[in-house]
């Protein structure tokens, strides 16, 4: 009984610690679930990836105003049955911040979507294929910046004949 109590105590402490960490270290950007994408063989399809940035944060757009700033970039690793024909980034919002009121930065904040155009060859076999990737971004709040981070982006593509 005593051993069980100790084990439960340790587990609860660990869970508490993990939760507490989560409050301060969670990535400021999350991807909404994509679900399974259905496509016909030989067709192309545009898939919208919807991201949400935590309030108080912003990230650089895909085209920041300075080459020193780190752009938001989506990269995919796809199986040979699926290709990424295009990635369409939204335009950034020109915003100024308390740390530099006279300077406009091109950023994303709140919710934003990146469209990807997927293609499959005509001779592809019917089946479900995983598409994996990652989005790299660099976030700041009103007084500090966070190192560049990546979050995984993955979904399934089901090809029907």
């Amino acid at each position: 009984m005593k051993r069980v109590t100790v084990l439960v105590a340790a587990a609860l402490l660990l869970a508490g610690w993990a939760l507490a960490q989560g409050f301060s270290d969670k990535p400021p950007v999350v991807l909404a679930p994509v679900g399974t994408v259905q496509m016909r063989a030989g067709a192309s399809k545009e898939v919208s990836l919807d991201f949400r940035i935590g309030s108080e944060f912003h990230i650089n757009s895909h085209t920041p105003k300075s080459p020193l700033l780190i752009p938001t970039v989506l990269k995919f690793t796809v199986p040979e049955q699926v290709s990424v024909a295009d990635v369409k980034y939204p335009a950034g919002q020109d915003m100024s911040f308390p740390f530099s009121p006279d300077e406009k930065l091109s950023v994303y904040s709140g919710d934003f979507s990146i469209s990807t155009v997927l293609k499959t060859p005509a001779n592809v076999s019917a089946g479900t294929y995983p598409v994996k990737g990652e989005m790299r971004f660099q976030a700041c709040d009103h007084s500090a910046c966070y190192p560049p981070r990546t979050i995984p982006v993955q979904f399934q593509v089901t090809v029907v004949k």
Binding site: M1, A15, W17, L19, Q21, F23, S24, F99, A144, Y146
Partner: protein
């Protein structure tokens, strides 16, 4: 059974405390700079040798006897750009009193790019090329800007994360120039650590006598 209930109540309280501290830190970050006063005060600043932009090696402990403002920054950090000219001014103003400003670039950019960036901001103080090791040694410096204020005796007087206003930075510089833990009282953290060490030693001695 009653004892188990007590254990669970204690755990519940501990978890609530952890959640509250996590939430507090999160909230503090969102409302401005975190000032981790107390956690690092009086702790010896980890020594390092880093390469400067001119290729020379710079060792922190070579500045013993001076007050050091050690600023971690990056070219991709817009708030860092705001502070750097202030640091330059402060170095000019307080150099005669013994202030040294060292910038540590936590950047993947080429040294030439970093040098150009610093030069455009009018920075003349020494800029060093940061490494993962120095970041780890200073508590995994993640958020930029982060500045350590190191006293003449090599002990950390303060640590500040995020952009502060210039007045607060200058006040901290003055405090750093006037703080010398070794020659005055024993710093709080050190005193606590020593007290704890004595307590552990006493407990071990009693335990051995049983």
């Amino acid at each position: 059974m009653k004892r188990n209930a007590l254990v669970f109540v204690a755990l519940f309280v501990a978890i609530l405390a952890m959640l509250a501290s996590g939430k507090y830190l999160d909230r503090t970050r969102k409302h401005g700079a975190i000032k981790l006063v107390g956690n690092v005060q009086g702790v010896p600043a980890p020594d390092f040798t880093l390469q400067s932009l001119d290729g020379s090696n710079v060792k922190l402990s070579d500045f013993r006897g001076k007050a050091v403002l050690l600023n971690f920054w990056a070219t991709w950090c817009p708030p860092c750009k705001v502070e750097m000219p202030w640091f330059e001014d402060l170095q000019k103003q307080y150099a005669k009193d013994g202030l040294v400003v060292l910038g540590v670039a936590m950047d993947d950019s080429e040294p030439a790019t970093i040098a150009k960036f610093a030069s455009e901001l009018g920075v003349n103080y020494q800029v060093l090329l940061g490494t993962d090791k120095v970041s780890d040694d200073y508590g995994d410096v993640q958020y930029l800007p982060t500045t350590f204020y190191i006293g003449r005796d090599g002990a950390i007087v303060d640590k500040m994360t995020g952009l502060l206003d210039r007045k607060e930075i200058e006040e901290t510089v003055k405090k750093t120039l006037n703080t010398n833990y070794r020659s005055s009282s024993v710093p709080q953290n050190q005193a606590k650590a020593e007290a704890k060490a004595v307590a552990v030693k006493d407990f071990a001695a009693k335990d051995a006598a049983r």
